[in-house]
């Protein structure tokens, strides 16, 4: 079954046809062209430095009876450098009580105004945000000033928070995605604070004094930026802030130089061993080598180009005050690990050297520029966006400078930015998965370091392989005749069917089994047949014929005297013959289906089957793993089934095989395609 879709795709490409053609526009009507722009512009951004030393940035929304005010404090003075989680703990505790209000009183005061008061901490600083009706701005600012200037850091509030953070960090260790990112950051940033995560190992050492010391050093007006949006003018806002924050004093003390990230070198692989895992969680990342500010718009576009090109791999550029990074992320079957990493590195390189053509670039630019106004519609959204831009040193006079910049980019500008910022040759590759399986395929990308979940190095002897099953010992003698009807579904709609028939009554060769499959989708048919010896599970002959309105293509192979010998026929009548040595243990055509019926499946079991192609005699490896036992409902009934992931160079598929022997395939899904096959009817076993 697995190779049907592969073969079909291959043949359809050859014939210049697509099996599931997108439907064209109807005869009547189509989408209207864009109207002229309305001329409404996104608002201006004003700023000034306040008397207390802080910066004030305002995006006025005249007439809007609501104001959002944020205060961003940069994380620049690491008082306790060994505690990277300190800044986040301080931020979380700001709203847990002040020297004038306990937690309860503070919460009630916020409720009384119908306001919101939130804190958020990131790698470069913390932001406290007030959202309040314009009519209550004064009272809201008084509360904001209280939490920013006078937090109490009561031990009674600190202890449960630390407990929660440690528990949450412990729980996250089981998540391979979090683990992969954490290891990537540590590998790229080394001892730099960006590589230290939440620093949960040191959280237990924090006390109220450490928090107060951090607060006194960092929460000073000279290190703060107010960003405001709503129905208030710059003069009004400056006056209000000076009134409520007038007693806030202090400037930054000497800033610790901090640790530099290590100099990037050639590709290296860090492999986190998760024994028995069927999947590989991949991160491919590198630091952005030059300040990303001027290239930011181009990087955002480049990133979306990469996302489209990489399919199921996600792609992101991340800003940081000191050094940002690029990362591609994927979770794939173990057998697809090297293909996926190779694809990511190739696409990064391609973006550096090849110009993106307008046909690909314009829709992406249209999407980014078009969706931008939707992202900065409300004061809350505006403040979040502007505060983030300012933190990363980007300043604009108007909000719509960004979409204008996006629209102005062309292929050359994109390639220029990509060649400066993307460095696949220095990328760090981190993978979480079964190192016994993954280590070999990953060595082609660079030296591989294997560690356990705690970060301790592991040697080869520590890697015990999972059990693996091939086809050499299979015996099909016990199989009985039968027929199986499958529905072919695209996006849930039935577009055709496949009928598979097992027949043991070959009058010429009674010691043979023939499996025939006929797939019909509209005017197209694909007929496949394979004959094999049940006791040795060795192929004898196989064939296929694909017919479509554009023509036919077919092939036939026989196995004899140590060779696979056959011919393939093209639509123009051309015939090509081939003769290649037999690969020991290889199956042919739909025998793989039968092999899956006969194997002794168990969760965790790995599968590796050489499959000889009917049309060329070439042999490729199908590999996979039994993931779990699941209940599956198909039109033929509800079954307990092994959920199996299979991978070949043609792609990945998930199939469900009945737990009862023979393990008939009940359903097959193809990753990245809407095609699903599901069993509708069984006749026989």
């Amino acid at each position: 079954m697995i190779w049907i879709s592969r073969t079909s795709r291959h043949l359809a490409r050859y014939l210049g046809m697509v099996l599931f053609l997108p439907v064209g526009l109807g005869a009547q009507g189509g989408p209207p062209p864009p109207l002229p722009e309305t001329g409404t512009r996104l608002p201006r951004i004003d700023s000034r430095t306040l008397g207390i030393g802080a910066d004030l940035i305002l995006v006025e929304r005249a007439g809007v009876p609501f104001v959002t005010v944020s205060v961003t404090v940069r994380d620049v003075v690491p008082v306790v450098s060994e505690s990277p989680g300190l800044a986040a703990v301080v931020a979380r505790l700001l709203t847990a009580g002040t020297t004038t209000r306990n937690t309860d009183e503070l919460a009630r005061a916020v409720d009384r105004l119908g306001a919101t008061l939130d804190t958020r901490a990131g790698p470069d600083g913390a932001t406290i945000t007030l959202g309040v009706a314009r009519a209550h701005l004064n009272a809201g600012l008084e509360l904001l000033a209280d939490v920013v200037m006078r937090p109490s850091f009561e031990p009674a509030a600190l202890a449960p928070l630390l407990e929660e953070l440690v528990e949450s960090a412990e729980a996250s260790r089981a998540d391979p995605r979090i683990m992969a990112t954490r290891v990537l950051l540590r590998s790229m940033y080394g001892q730099h604070r960006y590589g230290q995560g939440a620093g949960e190992e040191k959280l237990g050492e924090l006390d109220s004094d450490a928090l107060a010391a951090y607060h006194a050093a960092n929460y000073v007006p000279g290190n703060a930026t107010f960003v405001v949006s709503g129905g208030v003018t710059l003069d009004e806002m400056a006056e209000e802030i000076e009134e409520y924050f007038g007693t806030w004093t202090g400037a930054l003390g000497p800033v610790s130089p901090g640790v530099e990230p290590p100099e990037p070198e050639a590709n290296e692989v860090v492999l986190v061993h998760a024994p028995g895992s069927a999947r590989a969680t991949i991160r491919v990342g590198h630091l952005l080598p030059v300040g990303s500010g001027p290239d930011w718009a181009a990087l955002v576009v480049a990133n979306l180009v990469l996302r489209q090109r990489l399919g199921r791999v996600s792609s992101a550029v991340n800003r940081r005050v000191e050094a940002g990074y690029y990362v591609a992320s994927a979770e794939v079957p173990a057998a697809a690990v090297d293909g996926t990493v190779g694809l990511i590195l190739d696409e990064l390189e391609r973006l550096r050297v090849e110009e993106v053509l307008p046909a690909e670039l314009e829709p992406i630019k249209g999407y980014i520029a078009g969706s931008f106004p939707l992202q900065v519609e409300t004061p809350q959204q505006i403040v979040a966006r502007v505060a983030r831009d300012r933190l990363f040193g980007m300043s604009s006079k108007r909000l719509d400078e960004y979409p204008s910049r996006i629209r102005g980019l062309d292929g050359a500008a994109l390639r220029g930015a990509a060649s400066r910022q993307l460095v696949p040759q220095e990328a760090v590759i981190t993978v979480v998965g079964d190192a016994a399986v993954l280590r070999g395929p990953l060595t082609k990308f660079g030296p591989v370091t294997v560690i356990d979940m705690d970060g301790h190095p592991l040697g080869l002897a520590d890697l015990a392989p999972s059990p693996e099953q091939g086809v050499l010992d299979l015996d099909a003698s016990g199989l009985e005749d039968g027929s199986w009807v499958y529905g072919l579904m695209v996006d849930g709609e039935r577009v055709g069917e496949l009928v598979r028939t097992l027949d043991r009554s070959d009058p010429v060769d009674p010691d043979a089994i023939t499996l025939t499959s006929l797939m019909v989708t509209g005017p197209q048919t694909l007929r496949q047949e394979v004959t094999f010896r049940p006791s040795t599970f060795a192929p004898v002959a196989a064939s296929f014929l694909f017919s479509a309105p554009g023509g036919e293509i077919g092939a036939r192979s026989t196995v004899d005297d140590g060779f696979v010998q056959g011919s393939r026929t093209y639509p123009d009548g051309r015939v090509e013959e081939f003769r290649v040595p037999v690969t020991a243990g290889a199956v042919m055509g739909e025998m793989l289906e039968v092999a899956l019926w006969l194997m002794d499946h168990a969760p965790g079991m790995r599968i590796r089957v050489p499959v000889t192609q009917v049309e060329s005699g070439a042999t490729t490896i199908m590999s996979g793993q039994v993931l779990e036992i699941a209940t599956i409902e198909v039109p033929a009934g509800t079954f307990q089934a092994y959920r199996i992931e299979m991978v070949s160079d043609a792609g990945e598929q998930i199939l469900y095989a009945r737990t009862e022997a023979p393990h008939i395939v009940l359903r097959l899904e193809t990753r990245g395609q809407p095609l699903v096959m599901q069993l509708e009817f069984i006749s026989g076993s």
Partner: protein, 452 residues
């Protein structure tokens, strides 16, 4: 076309002069224009040029119906069919067009309506209108498409009922509380389309309910109402009218006086026991809605609210608690939903809740409580006017409930007029034992329970 610029201008003048209403309420009036096409399509437009963005929404007046027992399921199937494909939009094409323009779309079906919403850059408002006209006039019906959409709807319904903690108990309480049969059938998308539903039945339902004269088109944002009128006439004008606006049968009165109803539900996917106490309320257009809306805030919104303070923070009997006013054209509910803390019995929780509820009917709330509730409501109302999406939905709600979009501009006055006596009066009137439904969902009751 009705123009309401005068009232908007007056409001702005008051605002500029720092008058009482601007100081106190802070909500300038929304400009609202309305017109109706010859085919019956009612159109409401809000023009606000704060950002180059526009929202387009169509609400069809169907989500339940006394005429059709499976109305909710059939409307939901059509919602999915409409998102999927139409004569000039092959599958996936609408999504692609909207996304490439920089916008997004959502759709939903509830007991009162089936709605579609798009938010797009304002120069693509014509695209959004055209896509909605495809949905209103040119759906594609096929056996295969219908089957797959029915399967999708069933799976979505199962996900809603089973995949969310305590959803089964919440829907059971809602069903138990209401006597309006069409709402009972649509609670939590409870009704699945019958398996013998065929294309003809769906097409008939579509033609009956998804017609221009049973729909409201709302547009909000950076648009010119005259241009919108011209576009709408051009794009929707040739669509044939249907059999007319659907008016549900008469709604039963609220409160009920026939006694408490109790139920017990198994919540196999939940780890903590759950309790829902529900009181039946009148339709959204009833004058008591304003006092009820503030009452639920006094009960359960914010750390200082009565139930939050008593059950969650002071005595730690509950992990979470919400008090909600569920508004519908017909009877709605005040629902108090509580997730019990470890080891706390539902009987104890219920007793505590009822004690606080009875106190509301017996004693006046404080001025501070009323002011807090009012400020919370106003803040929520203000923020709901800040985006085109929430503005267009607010206009739709006012038309659905009151048949009058302009009424949106008088809401603050109506809420401001609510007194502590009103709160006590509606509490005594609606939060009564005879009008109460209580559903227990203890952990490990086993099985998929139904209300007893």
């Amino acid at each position: 076309m009705r123009k309401d610029r005068l009232s908007a201008a007056l409001a702005m003048a008051v605002l500029a002069a720092g008058g009482v209403s601007a100081q106190q309420y802070g909500l300038p009036e929304l400009p609202v224009d309305t017109f109706r096409l010859e085919n019956g399509l009612f159109v409401v437009v809000n023009e606000t040029h704060t950002s180059p963005v526009a929202a387009v929404s169509v609400w069809y007046r169907v989500g339940s119906s006394p005429e059709e027992p499976y109305a909710n399921a059939l409307a939901h199937v059509i919602e999915h069919l409409a998102l999927q494909e139409s004569e000039n939009l092959p599958p996936g094409r609408a999504d692609l067009l909207i996304t490439r323009a920089g916008g997004f779309q959502v759709a939903g079906t509830d007991a009162d309506r089936t709605g579609f919403l798009q938010v797009v850059p304002s120069n693509r408002v014509n695209l959004a209108l055209w896509i909605e006209s495809e949905r209103m006039d040119r759906l594609v019906f096929s056996d295969d498409g219908l089957r797959s959409r029915m399967a999708r709807v069933t799976s979505e319904r199962d996900g809603t009922l089973l995949g969310r903690p305590y959803a089964r108990a919440r829907f059971a309480a809602d069903t138990l509380a209401t006597d309006f049969v069409p709402y009972k059938r649509s609670a939590g998308l409870a009704g699945a389309a019958p398996t013998d539903t065929d294309v003809d039945r769906i097409r008939h339902f579509y033609e009956r309910y998804f017609a221009p004269d049973n729909a409201v088109l709302a547009v909000a944002g950076d648009v010119d109402p005259l241009q919108i009128r011209s576009l709408v006439e051009d794009i929707f004008g040739r669509i044939q009218r249907g059999p007319g606006v659907f008016e549900p049968a008469e709604f039963p009165d609220a409160p009920r006086h026939d006694g408490e109803r109790r139920g017990r539900v198994g919540e196999e996917f939940s780890t903590h026991s759950f309790l829902s106490v529900v009181f039946t309320t009148p339709g959204a257009a009833h004058d008591d809605q304003y006092a009820l809306a503030l009452l639920v805030r006094i009960l359960g919104a914010g750390r200082g609210s009565r139930l939050q303070k008593a059950l969650v923070h002071d005595r730690r009997l509950a992990r979470t608690l919400t008090a909600t006013l569920n508004r519908r054209r017909g009877p709605g509910t005040v629902a108090i939903d509580v997730v019990a803390a470890e080891g706390v019995s539902l009987d104890v929780l219920e007793a505590q809740i009822l004690e606080e509820v009875e106190r509301l009917g017996a004693e006046s709330v404080t001025d501070q409580e009323l002011r807090t509730a009012l400020n919370q409501w106003k803040a929520a109302e203000i923020t709901s006017r800040l985006s085109v999406r929430s503005r267009v939905e607010a206009l739709q709600r006012h038309l659905l409930y009151f048949g009058d979009a302009h009424r949106i501009n008088g809401e603050v006055t109506r809420y401001d007029a609510v007194t502590a006596d009103d709160i006590q009066r509606v509490a005594a009137k609606y939060l009564t034992a005879e009008n109460r439904a209580v559903v227990f969902a203890p952990v490990r009751t086993g099985g998929h329970g139904v209300p007893e």
